[in-house]
C-alpha cells in the first residue's frame, strides 16, 4: 500500500543532514505548525460551506450560490468579513479573560490534532498513549468556554457556559467509555496500533453488537460534546440568543466558530479511527484479491472519506432534530447512556478475553 512515510523520512533525513540537530528539530516544528494551521484554515472553510450546503439540501433550498462557482468561496468571503470586523470588548467584561478565552478553545483544538493519523505513515506525533492524550486535552476546552461565559459579564453567556460545562463534563464519560471498549479489543492506546489492528476488518463489524452499541453511544456523545444540535444548549439560539459567545464579535467570534468545526472534525476523525479503521482500507478477512483492490485507493482518501461521512451524520442530526431541554440532556447521559456504556464495556471485555471477535 502507498505510504507517505517515505516522504516524511526523506524530509527528516535531509533536515538532519543539512542542519545541526537542534535546528532540524525546530524547523520540523515550524513545518508541522504551518501544516496544522493550513489544515485548520482549510478545514474551517470546507466544513462551513459543507454545513451550509447540507443544510440547504435538507431544507429544500439552494444554499450559498453567489460567491464563486456553486458558492464555494462563500465561507472565504465570510472569513474576510469577520477579519475586517471590529472585535468589541464589552465595558463590564473581564478584559484579560475575555480576550484569552477564544485562544484557549482554539489552542486546545489544535493540540488534539497531534496524534491523529491522517494517512499511512503521516501523523504529527506517534505517541503511545494517543487516545488518552486526546481525551485528556479535549476536556480542557470546557475551561475556555466557561471563561468566555464568565468574563463576558452577560447573563445569557453565563447560562450558556454553565450549561456547556455540565454537558461537556457529563458526556465526556460516555465518550471515554465507548472509546475504552475499543481499547479493550486492541490492547493499545497508540492510534497507529489501533488502525493496524483493523487490517482484516473494521472494529465496527468485527466485534459484533457491543461495537455497534458503543459506536451509537459514541456518536451521540460526541454530538453533545461538541455542542452541536440537538445538544446545542450552550448556544441555544432561541433561548439564550447565542449562549457563551453572545458578546464576541469579529475574529474572536470566528475563533469560537472555527474551533467548533475543528472539534467536530477531530472527534469524527477519532471515531473513524476507532470504529471504521482510520486510514485502513475496507478489508474483509482473507479475501486477498478484494483487499488488494481496496488497497489501491490511497489511505488519506479512506481517512477523510470516513471522517466526512461521520461529519455528514452529525450535520444531518443538526438539521433534523429539535433541541433537548437541559434536564433531559443530563437525564439522557446519567440515566441511559452511562449505564448502557458501562454494561457494554463489560460485555466487550468478555468478548475480548474470550476472543469471540473476528
Amino acid at each position: 500500500m502507498f505510504s507517505l512515510e517515505s516522504l516524511t523520512t526523506l524530509v527528516q533525513d535531509w533536515l538532519n543532514k543539512t542542519f545541526p540537530p537542534t535546528w532540524a528539530l525546530l524547523i520540523e516544528f515550524v513545518i508541522v505548525g504551518i501544516l496544522a494551521i493550513a489544515l485548520f484554515a482549510a478545514l474551517g472553510l470546507v466544513l462551513v460551506i459543507m454545513e451550509r450546503k447540507v443544510a440547504a439540501w435538507i431544507q429544500i433550498r439552494l444554499g450559498p450560490n453567489r460567491v464563486g462557482p456553486l458558492g464555494i468561496l462563500q465561507s472565504t468571503a465570510d472569513t474576510i468579513k469577520l477579519i475586517m470586523k471590529e472585535g468589541l470588548t464589552p465595558d463590564g467584561a473581564d478584559k484579560f479573560l475575555f480576550n484569552l478565552a477564544p485562544f484557549i478553545v482554539m489552542i486546545v483544538s489544535m493540540l488534539i490534532l497531534a496524534p491523529i493519523g491522517f494517512a499511512k505513515g503521516f501523523h504529527i506525533w506517534d505517541i503511545n498513549i494517543g487516545v488518552l492524550y486526546v481525551s485528556a486535552i479535549s476536556s480542557v476546552s470546557v475551561i475556555g468556554i466557561l471563561m468566555a461565559g464568565w468574563a463576558s459579564n452577560n447573563k445569557y453567556s453565563l447560562l450558556g457556559a454553565m450549561r456547556s460545562g455540565a454537558q461537556m463534563v457529563s458526556y465526556e464519560l460516555s465518550v471515554g467509555l465507548s472509546v475504552l471498549s475499543i481499547i479493550v479489543l486492541t490492547g493499545s492506546l497508540n492510534i497507529n496500533d489501533i488502525v493496524l489492528s483493523q487490517q482484516n476488518g473494521w472494529w465496527l463489524f468485527k466485534a459484533h453488537i457491543p461495537a455497534i452499541i458503543s459506536f451509537v453511544i459514541f456518536i451521540i456523545a460526541i454530538t453533545a460534546e461538541t455542542n452541536r444540535a440537538p445538544f446545542d444548549l450552550s448556544e441555544a439560539e432561541s433561548e439564550l440568543t447565542a449562549g457563551f459567545h453572545t458578546e464576541y464579535s469579529g475574529m474572536k467570534f470566528a475563533l469560537f466558530f472555527l474551533s467548533e468545526y475543528i472539534n467536530i472534525f477531530i472527534v469524527c476523525a477519532i471515531g473513524a479511527t476507532l470504529f471504521l479503521g482510520g486510514w485502513m482500507p475496507f478489508h474483509i478477512g482473507n479475501w486477498e484479491s478484494f483487499n488488494h483492490i481496496m488497497d489501491y485507493i490511497p489511505s488519506f482518501i479512506w481517512f477523510f472519506g470516513k471522517t466526512f461521512f461521520m461529519i455528514f451524520l452529525i450535520m444531518w442530526f443538526r438539521w433534523t432534530f429539535p433541541r433537548l431541554r437541559v434536564d433531559q440532556l443530563l437525564n439522557l447521559e446519567w440515566k441511559y447512556l452511562l449505564p448502557i456504556s458501562m454494561v457494554n464495556l463489560i460485555v466487550m471485555t468478555l468478548v475480548a478475553i474470550k476472543g469471540w471477535h473476528f
Binding site: 429544500i60 447560562l159 440537538p230 446545542d232 433561548e239 440568543t241 432534530f321 429539535p322 434536564d327 433531559q328
Partner: protein
C-alpha cells in the same frame, strides 16, 4: 419589582427576554426571574409596537378603518378585516350576497391554514429545529400566491369591505386552490414524520406548560390554546357568522392542556379548514361579490359588537357610533393579549426551554397584543 438590575432581593437572576430576542417573534419584552434554570416569575412588558390603532380608527371612516386592522394580527389579516366588515354591516343592516359570503369564508380558512403553517415552522424553530420552517413555507407560499393573485397583496390583503369583498375572484382561483389542496395532502404527513413523531419533540412538549380548563377560562384564553385545555370556544361553532352554520367541520378539542395538546389542536385544525375549503371550492355561487352600499357609510347611533374566530382565538370588534361617518370609539378584543396573560401561570417552575416551548404553542403575534 426590579430593584437592582440583574438581581432580586433574594438573589435570583433577572433576565430580559426581549424586546429583541429570537424567540419572542417580535418586540415582546419578558422579564423573567430565574433560580438557576428554573423560572420563578415571568412578567411581560408590552407597548413596544403600540400604534394606537384604536384611536386612529376614530378619525377614519367606516370604509377606511378596516385597513388598519390588517396590521394588528398580520397573520390573519383577512379575518381581522372580516370582523370589522361584519360589525359595520351589522350596524347598517346590509345583506351580503351569497357569493361574497363564500369567498370570505374561503379566504378566512386559507388564512387560517397559512397562519398555522407559519406557527408550525416558527414553533419548531423555537425548539431548535430549523428545517420544519422551510417545509412549512413551501405550502404557505402557495397560499400567498393565491392571495397575491386575487387580492393583490400577500400579507396585508385589505380584501374585505363592508358589503362584501373588494373585487371578484381571479379566474385562476379555483385551479390554484385545488392545486394547493393536492400539495397539502401530499405533504402533510411530513409534518408528523419530521416533528410530531419525534421523541425529543414529544418530550419537550408533553406535560409542559399545563393550562387547566378552569385556568384557561379565568385567563380568558381563547382559540386553539383554550381548545387544547378542553374549553369549547370556537366562535364559528358557538356563534356562527356568515355561512359557517351550513358547513360541516369539527371543533377540535384536546383535554390534556399541555403544549402538545395545543400543538395537536392546531395541526388538526388545519385539516378542518381543508375540509371547509373542499366543501366550498366547487360550490361558489354566481352573483354579485359586493352588495350595493352608499358611498358614505353612516352607522346609526348605538353600539355594535361582532366576534369572529381568528387563527389565534376570538377577536371581538366593538364599535360605538354617534351616528357620524367615523366611529366614536372602537375597541378590539384581541386574542393574543388574553392568551399572553396565562404565560406566567403556565411557565412557573419550568425551565427556560419550557418557556420558549409554551410561548411557541400560544402562538403570540405581538402587534396583535399591542395594537
Amino acid at each position: 419589582m426590579v430593584e437592582e438590575i440583574g438581581k432580586t432581593a433574594e438573589g435570583d437572576l433577572i433576565i430580559n427576554v426581549g424586546p429583541q430576542h429570537p424567540a419572542t417573534h417580535g418586540v415582546l419584552h419578558l422579564i423573567i426571574t430565574l433560580n438557576g434554570e428554573t423560572i420563578k416569575k415571568v412578567e411581560p412588558h408590552l407597548g413596544y409596537i403600540h400604534r394606537s390603532i384604536e384611536k386612529m380608527c376614530e378619525s377614519l371612516t367606516y370604509r377606511q378603518f378596516i385597513y388598519t386592522t390588517s396590521r394588528m394580527d398580520y397573520l390573519s389579516a383577512h379575518i381581522n378585516n372580516h370582523a370589522c366588515a361584519l360589525t359595520v354591516e351589522k350596524g347598517l343592516g346590509i345583506e351580503i350576497p351569497a357569493r361574497a359570503q363564500v369567498i370570505r369564508v374561503l379566504m378566512d380558512e386559507l388564512t387560517r391554514i397559512a397562519s398555522h403553517e407559519l406557527w408550525w415552522g416558527a414553533m419548531a424553530m423555537d425548539l431548535g429545529a430549523f428545517t420544519p420552517f422551510f417545509h412549512a413555507f413551501r405550502e404557505r407560499e402557495t397560499i400567498n400566491d393565491i392571495m397575491e393573485e386575487t387580492c393583490g397583496a400577500r400579507l396585508t390583503m385589505n380584501y374585505m369591505v363592508p358589503g362584501g369583498v373588494m373585487m371578484d375572484l381571479h379566474p385562476n382561483f379555483q385551479y390554484r386552490v385545488k392545486n394547493f389542496l393536492t400539495l397539502y395532502k401530499r405533504k402533510i404527513h411530513e409534518y408528523d414524520e419530521l416533528v410530531t413523531g419525534n421523541i425529543i419533540f414529544q418530550n419537550r412538549m408533553k406535560g409542559v406548560g399545563v393550562l387547566s380548563k378552569e385556568a384557561a377560562i379565568s385567563f380568558g384564553v381563547t382559540g386553539p390554546a383554550a381548545r387544547g385545555s378542553g374549553v369549547s370556544c370556537d366562535v364559528r361553532k358557538l356563534y356562527p357568522y356568515e355561512i359557517y352554520n351550513t358547513l360541516e367541520f369539527d371543533e377540535i378539542l384536546e383535554t390534556e392542556g399541555d403544549s402538545f395538546a395545543r400543538y395537536m389542536v392546531r395541526l388538526r385544525e388545519m385539516n378542518e379548514s381543508i375540509k371547509i375549503i373542499e366543501q366550498l371550492i366547487d360550490n361558489i355561487p354566481e352573483g354579485d361579490f359586493q352588495a350595493k352600499t352608499k358611498a358614505v357609510l353612516k352607522l346609526p347611533k348605538g353600539e355594535f359588537y361582532q366576534r369572529v374566530e381568528t387563527a389565534r382565538g376570538e377577536l371581538g370588534v366593538y364599535i360605538v357610533s354617534e351616528g357620524g361617518t367615523t366611529p366614536y370609539r372602537i375597541k378590539f378584543r384581541s386574542p393574543g393579549f388574553s392568551n399572553l396573560s396565562c404565560l406566567d401561570h403556565i411557565t412557573r417552575g419550568g425551565k427556560i426551554g419550557d418557556l420558549i416551548a409554551s410561548m411557541g404553542t400560544l402562538d403570540l403575534v405581538i402587534p396583535d397584543i399591542d395594537r
